[in-house]
Symmetry: C2
Subunit: 205 residues, 2 copies
């Protein structure tokens, strides 16, 4: 049926369909929406895409997104440089910032180790983390919080980094985000792995 769509419409549907979670039907719906809105609104979206690719790169220190050589957090002198939180993706920085519980800096790995997908430690910013942690800076790094996802690949990555850090910089504390019940959860509906972790990690009150 591609004959029905004029080539520019088909091209837009194809490009929209490459976005994650956007199937062909949704791509069609979005394309028709874009056809309906004003030229200004559609232009703003196209321009935002171009601008983000032109102006946003990775921070040279932590590999978070940055609109210059260093990201806003690495530029912020009030953030504790002795405390580094290791996350998989730039998008993981946001939920941690939202907690207002962390005033250190970040290190973005760019993913998690996954042999099945061909992602090895060398494909992530792990060597850069080890170098950064080992540098003779003031204040020195005193703790690395491993905040990779509580998934198989995230856990494997955390274990790998923890081993490497303990070997090279044994004086630095290495911690992992607590696993347990989400706040507001119902015990009855908790999966047994989470509940098991909550039991193992129980704390005095």
């Amino acid at each position: 049926m591609s004959e029905v769509y004029a080539p520019p419409v088909q091209r837009l549907i194809t490009e929209l369909g490459k976005l994650p979670g956007i199937g062909n039907r949704t791509a069609q719906r979005l394309a028709f929406h874009i056809l309906r809105v004003s030229d200004e609104d559609a232009g703003a979206l196209a321009e935002a895409i171009r601008e983000v690719k032109q102006r946003i790169g990775l921070c040279e220190v932590c590999f978070n997104l940055a609109d210059g050589p260093r990201c806003r957090i690495c530029q912020d002198e009030r953030r504790d440089a002795g405390l580094i939180c290791v996350v998989e993706e730039p998008g993981d920085v946001i939920p941690i910032e939202r907690t207002h519980e962390f005033r250190g800096r970040y290190h973005v790995l760019g993913g998690a180790m996954s042999p099945i997908d061909g992602i090895d430690p060398e494909d992530l910013k792990i060597a850069e983390l080890l170098t950064r942690v080992g540098e003779d800076v003031d204040p020195p790094v005193r703790e690395v919080v491993l905040a990779t996802n509580p998934t198989t690949t995230g856990e494997a990555t955390a274990l790998y980094i923890a081993d490497a850090l303990r070997e090279r910089t044994p004086e630095i504390a290495v911690t992992r985000l607590a696993s347990g019940l989400p706040v507001g959860a119902d015990l009855e509906y908790a999966d047994e792995v989470t509940l098991g972790k909550a039991l193992v990690g129980r704390r005095a009150v």
Copy 2:
């Protein structure tokens, strides 16, 4: 938390979030995806948006999408000009074409009448339909199929157009898409309105 995102990233999330069915979380996910892909892939999407707005307009005859003054269907001399299918949106043409059951032409209203949303008959291409149907052309129009959606607004629009056509061009047949059970449906799970329509519209076998 807007401070965490550099302005170009925030701008992209905002623009993506304006698309229908794309909430803030999904917009973030899409934005991070766009940040991750190659400049070429992101550029192709931006360019597709610009191109579709620059090159696609409405057909001067039927108001379907067109990359010139007339759409492909109106340009196709093999399509029966005596049979016109009236639909709400350009996107409705595609599913009808997919059936391979219709070889006539289309007329795209640009929506359905909805007083609650302030959409009156004058906001749709209804006057243009009446003019088109009444024109002294060869072949003359002999049937108008009302294929607006089987919804309150779609039904109201179909009734309004049917009345107007019967008054001005009583010699032209006006038909409506059949309502009934979808093929493959299970009677047990059919809603009573659909099942009722299927009963009323029962046919000899």
